[in-house]
């Protein structure tokens, strides 16, 4: 969407063209100067500003810490229709930023100006979500897309949003493929299923579409409760989702699926084992390859027997069985 080539237009014009466009003002600034730079840009762009800080991942990628040594990029947008007003605003913003340099704040970069073409902002993001075929017959269909169903397709309708589980991440796909494998074994029919960390509800909904009889989910994120219920309704299913963690107090279950992370799986190993009926199956996912041995050891210590291992990239999913006796 950002047409950077237009910044190299005539120097007196900054590439500011009329039409259905926005003028993007962006400044690379030390974190210390971000507040001041944002304030200056917001004088000209009443719609607000965006700030993209440098950051580093922590806790196995589950957390992020803003890196004060990396500059942030502050952006703001002017309507491109009024060329004269836009040119004046750019000049004034550049002047105000110049003054800022004198106020003892750390370095601020040049004001960059580029043209962004008008788009259907409310819908453009949808291009990132295609219809996904996972395994042999499971299909994840974003609700706004059509899908020509094959004879044995199991189609799961989903609206991606504020809860993890869109089908785009390997950890989710490994679980979905594992559920299909259980269905092929005949384990899903009328099964009682628990989804630990259910997010969007995608996994228990898949289990339901494969014929499971009772679907229970838990998630510490309150958003998950609403998202799971809404997505279940899109698939004509009813789910029982609670905001919280284990124990679910609804066990024992025939099948438990837990798409978490290694450290959480290890911490919950005993609780997960306790949710299974004798002979029940557990699918544990979200395991980065270098933690596989630790997770396997934790579940084996709880008396669970490893049955299967699947991998996609550097992500691993492990299937276990509780002793039938």
């Amino acid at each position: 969407m950002v047409d950077e080539g237009l910044t190299s237009g005539p120097p007196d014009d900054e590439g500011l063209t009329a039409g259905d466009t926005w003028i993007e003002l962006s400044v690379r600034a030390d974190l210390e100067a971000v507040e001041a730079v944002s304030e200056i840009l917001s004088r000209f762009a009443p719609g607000g500003t965006s700030v993209q800080p440098g950051f580093e991942l922590i806790d196995e990628g589950l957390g992020a810490r803003i890196d004060p040594n990396q500059p942030a990029i502050v952006r703001a947008y002017l309507p491109g229709r009024d060329r004269t007003a836009a040119r004046l605003a750019v000049r004034q913003a550049r002047e105000a930023l110049g003054h800022l340099q004198a106020f003892n704040l750390r370095p601020i970069g040049e004001l960059d100006v580029s043209v962004v073409h008008e788009a259907d902002w409310a819908h453009a993001w949808k291009a990132h979500f295609p219809v996904l075929r996972i395994g042999r017959r499971l299909v994840i269909r974003p609700t706004w897309r059509r899908h020509r169903r094959r004879a044995d397709d199991v189609v799961l309708a989903l609206d991606p949003g504020m809860a993890f589980g869109t089908g785009l991440h390997p950890t989710t796909r490994l679980c979905l493929a594992g559920l299909e494998h259980w269905a092929d074994e005949g384990l899903c029919a009328a099964a009682r299923v628990l989804d630990v960390g259910c997010g969007s509800g995608i996994l228990m909904i898949a289990a339901g579409l494969f014929g499971a009889g009772q679907l229970v989910g838990v998630d510490t994120d309150p958003i998950a409760v609403e998202a799971s219920a809404a997505n279940a309704a899109r698939n004509d299913l009813v789910v029982d989702v609670r905001n919280g963690s284990l124990p679910s107090r609804s066990g024992p279950f025939d099948l438990v699926v837990a798409n978490l992370i290694a450290s959480l799986l290890i911490a919950l190993a005993s609780d997960l084992q306790a949710e299974l009926r004798p002979g029940g199956r557990l699918l544990a996912s979200g395991i980065f390859i270098d933690r596989e041995r630790d997770v396997r050891n934790a579940f084996e210590s709880e008396g669970l027997r490893p049955l299967r291992r699947t991998a996609e990239g550097e992500w691993i999913a492990l299937e276990f069985e509780r002793s039938p006796i």
Binding site: E32, A36, L100, A163
Partner: protein, 141 residues
């Protein structure tokens, strides 16, 4: 769920009035974020703060799901209030449009401390002072 982070970014938006237009669309669209769900949720959570700028820090996960938390108002908003200036009264000109005391500056720095990524109060106060001076607000006392 195993929520692996792709990127974090902050949007400073008018409370209760976010729309899919830039900067929201341009910031979130390329990451595949459900923009309407964001604006709806942001506007609901900030409806009682109309007239203020309320930043939202958005975490985008690897599968393009997301979450966000609201942050403290920008220093500029707090400075305008402290200096008794109208909304939007700031001018890029170099003349003084208002005054705040050093105590007020430190109060604002204390409010903003958790969001400023400053190492200590002095660094936070220096950031706020830089913003004040760029707005034409003089620091006195």
């Amino acid at each position: 769920m195993a929520k692996k982070i792709r990127i974090i970014l902050t949007l400073q938006l008018p409370a209760g009035k976010a729309t899919p237009a830039p900067p929201v669309g341009t910031a979130l669209g390329p990451h595949g974020i459900n923009i309407v769900e964001f604006t709806k949720s942001y506007n609901e959570k900030t409806a009682d703060k109309a007239g203020q700028i309320i930043p939202a820090e958005i975490t985008v996960f690897e599968d393009r799901s997301f979450s966000f938390i609201l942050k403290t108002p920008p220093a500029a908003d707090l400075l305008r209030k402290a200096a008794g200036l109208d909304k939007g009264g700031a001018t890029p000109k170099r003349e003084t449009v208002g005054k705040v005391t050093r105590d007020q500056l430190r109060e604002i720095a204390a409010v903003k401390m958790s969001d400023l990524n400053a190492n200590d109060m002095d660094a936070a106060a220096r950031q706020i002072e830089g913003t004040a001076r760029s707005m034409g607000i003089e620091v006195v006392g």
